[in-house]
Symmetry: C2
Subunit: 205 residues, 2 copies
Amino acid sequence: MQIPSSSITRLSIYYRALLSLKDAALISSQELSDFTECSASQIRKDLAYFGQFGRPGCGYPVEDLKRELKKILGVDKDWDVALVGAGNLGSALLAYKGFKGQGFNIKHAFDNDTRKIGKVKQGIRIRDIEDLKKVIKSSKIGMAIVAVPQEAAREIIDRLVSSGIKAILNFAPARPKVPTGVELLNIDLSMELERLTYFLKRVRA
Amino acid sequence: MQIPSSSITRLSIYYRALLSLKDAALISSQELSDFTECSASQIRKDLAYFGQFGRPGCGYPVEDLKRELKKILGVDKDWDVALVGAGNLGSALLAYKGFKGQGFNIKHAFDNDTRKIGKVKQGIRIRDIEDLKKVIKSSKIGMAIVAVPQEAAREIIDRLVSSGIKAILNFAPARPKVPTGVELLNIDLSMELERLTYFLKRVRA
């Protein structure tokens, strides 16, 4: 069954709301709606994709729902991640402790700059991009974060895919195509900022 | 006229494609399509929102189009930005040089942690969150980046709005409502990663 991408996002929102709940055994879709600003009927619909949670009229058992969402979202285990690009953004991401707190371990980092290769940042030795395939294949990593310049993104993503990577978080301002069976998420910080300046320019004009 | 949000995103994509072009005086919507993976008809439609660029059959004049897109997107000038939250992510964002390269200057940073207040990071002195309103009003900053924990996000965003901030890039895992006339963009890195683990879990099962 194909779950709409927007439902997955909302499951993450529900999961966060439940994490912040203290001492509640049951929660109704209406209560969850108050926390999440999603409608109660939307919540019931999203959760129904994954089977029967709770009993109508009684609400959802909080601990069970939390455990189920954790499992559905795949955050019930730790994931090893490869980082490609150890420039400004890559270094900032290496330093960002939030990933580890969520069970995402940046296990390997790669760059093509000989001045960076061999250096240790945040306890991770930067490796030569030429070793990408070998390292990823032998360590069986499934997820990668791409923080390379725009012009390098397409080639790097192709190399990641052919090395067996199945899930990619891409920060490069490029949106290369990936084959079916590979999930690519693009976060382009400068494009997001341009949406804001587009708006700011209008409200300030 | 209300431009669809997806068009603004594509304008950013076209702008980037044009920046990477060397020595071309004219570009057809078909050529731009090859660079951007958006359809030629979509490109013509998006650009038509902003008036007449180029002449049918001749293509768009590259330099004019670049200049116009820059102006439309509001990146023809520098913008001062306030950062709220100088924890792991906030510090990573302070260190990220990509913002400055794009004309976004983090001018002030705020935190509520007395161990951080007064410290200088990346040349920016961390200020007391209690001074937020005063500083923002006096410096006439219109844009803010929020990198606070989930439980603080709603209050901080309310304070930013009442201080006159009109555009907010929010990295906290929360999606508070903002009044009309304020643009809020949410980037939740851990939620993005959960989309990937949701997918990974399925392909590896």
